[in-house]
């Protein structure tokens, strides 16, 4: 009995050693470059941002390297709370829409033969190789007061005078979706495509109808892709400002605008840095809650 135990622990020891040899080097080789890159070009700059957020603003907009908690005090103002709430609302709305529009589309592509699917994916991406500002401007040209949509509506007699489409929330939403859609479709496509067809067939054979199969098999199995999509759409949308600037007429400020302005025209870098830190904390918190809520053991399920 005791001998057996010894044997076992010996085996474990050997296993461990083999593990170290088998795993340390590859781990270093594989995770090393990305870790190094992230530390050099993300961690260090971000530490610098945190550092600046505790400094104070000089009279002429320069950073005075003297400790101050003033920036964080400023954040207590109700204005910032409102801005963040507003930005969150837009981000949630855009994400939900992108998922609802994107999932069936990703599913459609994933069910096609591989070569066709590759072409279809390519077709999604091509518009995005053109400039996003110009694409947004195209929407303005289409919907402007004496643009084609208004002309058409008046020609058919549906309206008497021109309708103001430009600089409205509806156009902003359209712009958001057309800008973010590939970020929703690509990860979901990748996940759905991976889905083993035999599962679905088995499920159907066992008498499940389409809806049940979708709910019980397809959806759970493609969840990692959906999760990636949510991350890739939600988070950037939170910080985006070009769409609302161009299609919304710059009437509304989002958190992204405010941070941009602090680093740009207003030149209050400490406040801009503090706002960035706040944004990071909020987002991390949301991701954390989300992973718990969605009972994903760790963020890296992605």
């Amino acid at each position: 009995m005791s001998k057996k135990l010894d044997d076992n622990s010996d085996l474990k020891q050997i296993g461990k050693k083999r593990d170290v040899k088998r795993k340390t080097l590859p781990a270093l080789a594989m995770a090393g470059p990305v870790s190094l890159w992230m530390i050099l070009f993300v961690t260090i700059p971000m530490l610098f941002i945190i550092y600046i957020s505790f400094m104070s603003r000089g009279v002429f907009g320069d950073v005075v390297y003297k400790f101050s908690g003033e920036s964080y005090q400023t954040l207590m103002d109700a204005t910032y709370f409102k801005v963040i709430l507003k930005s969150l609302r837009v981000a949630v709305f855009t994400t939900v829409l992108c998922l609802l529009v994107g999932y069936p589309f990703a599913y459609y592509i994933a069910r096609k033969p591989k070569e066709t699917a590759a072409k279809l994916i390519m077709l999604i991406m091509i518009p995005f190789w053109t400039n996003s500002l110009m694409r947004l401007n195209s929407w303005l040209l289409v919907f402007q007061t004496n643009g084609p949509v208004n002309s058409f509506l008046q020609w058919t007699g549906m309206t008497d005078g021109p309708i103001t489409f430009v600089y409205t929330d509806g156009l902003v939403v359209l712009g958001m979706i057309t800008n973010m859609l590939p970020f929703a479709v690509l990860p979901m496509y990748s996940s759905i495509e991976k889905l083993n067809k035999s599962f679905l067939e088995a499920s159907a054979d066992l008498g499940a109808n389409g809806a049940t199969t979708f709910r019980k098999i397809t959806l759970p199995l493609t969840f990692p892709g959906i999760f990636s999509s949510i991350i890739l759409v939600f988070i950037p949308t939170l910080g985006i400002y070009t769409v609302s600037d161009m299609l919304g007429g710059g009437k509304v400020l989002y958190i992204g605008n405010i941070i941009k302005n602090q680093f740009g025209s207003i030149r209050n870098w400490p406040l801009g840095a503090a706002l960035s830190v706040l944004l990071i904390v909020i987002t991390m918190l949301l991701i954390f809650l989300y992973t718990r809520f969605a009972s994903i053991e760790d963020m890296e399920v992605v």
Binding site: P33, P45, K194, S276
Partner: protein
């Protein structure tokens, strides 16, 4: 009877799917079509349709700054894609497969470039580069682009890696293949769609980036989006539309050519097999 019902349903679904896809593609392509149309607009800036002209295509070739910036953007985008996908692919595998200290930290770091507005990271990088005496230029832009492309690449690729690939890999290694062979023969093919998506995403992000490029560009050359952004205040001139139109046509032509070559090769292969 039941079968035909199922088939009918399937057919209806596939028609519905096609209609849906057409609508989505239409929404994606309307702005592009408008952009192409306005390359023929007879107006100093594109404010509204003012009549047909082809003069902008002539003007385009005189505008060496515009063409130069397109090349600059393309080179940066291709390099950024290569670097990001390389680091991203092996990084995604490494972060997914291996337990090591600080893994969670790196995983969290990956979210930062996605979360923070680009301007924050761009300004921080700018100050750091200037302080250590790195001159601004293609190198700094490239680093900036990779910094936000790598996280996107990793998130996309990770979604593709699953547990059962692991057993396949082990089987492959048990059968005597080494790590690199296993990687190329087993791992890579299974995550290939993820890698391709990552490459597309990276290229797309890089070629359209404004903020990083604007902050980290040197005095001598800027990218096309930065040039367009700087025009945006007054208005974009139609020669930029002309450039975009040509770019799109080249891409489409390349795709068609690629298809023709592929199908020709296939036919030949089939013939050889038949013989």
């Amino acid at each position: 009877m039941a079968v035909s019902k199922v088939q009918k349903k399937k057919k209806a679904f596939s028609i519905l799917g096609n209609v849906y896809a057409v609508i989505i593609y239409a929404i994606l392509y309307i702005p592009v079509a408008v952009m192409m149309m306005f390359s023929f607009n007879d107006q100093r800036y594109n404010y509204y349709w003012n009549g047909f002209t082809t003069k902008w295509y002539g003007k385009l070739f005189e505008n060496s700054a515009l063409i130069g910036s397109l090349w600059y953007s393309l080179i940066i985008a291709v390099l950024a894609t290569l670097i990001s996908v390389l680091i991203g692919t092996i990084g995604a595998l490494g972060l997914k497969r291996f337990e090591f200290k600080g893994r969670k930290f790196i995983n969290n770091m990956l979210y930062i470039p996605i979360i923070v507005p680009e301007i924050v990271l761009a300004v921080a990088l700018l100050i750091i580069f200037l302080n250590i005496g790195t001159a601004l230029g293609m190198g700094t832009i490239l680093i900036g682009h990779c910094t936000f492309c790598i996280p996107y690449a990793i998130v996309t690729i990770k979604g593709r890696i699953s547990g059962d690939d692991n057993s396949l890999e082990e089987a492959s290694m048990d059968l005597g293949a080494n790590r690199i062979q296993t990687f190329i023969r087993v791992t890579l093919p299974s995550i290939m769609p993820g890698v391709m998506s990552a490459a597309f995403l990276s290229f797309t992000l890089s070629i359209d980036d404004v903020v990083m490029s604007n902050m980290l560009a040197g005095a001598k050359q800027s990218t096309l989006p930065v040039l367009i952004l700087s025009m945006n205040k007054a208005g974009v001139t139609p020669d930029v539309n002309a450039l975009t139109t040509i770019m799109i046509l080249v891409i489409v032509a390349a795709m068609i050519l690629n298809n023709i070559i592929k199908s020709a090769l296939k036919k030949r292969q089939n013939k050889e097999v038949a013989i």
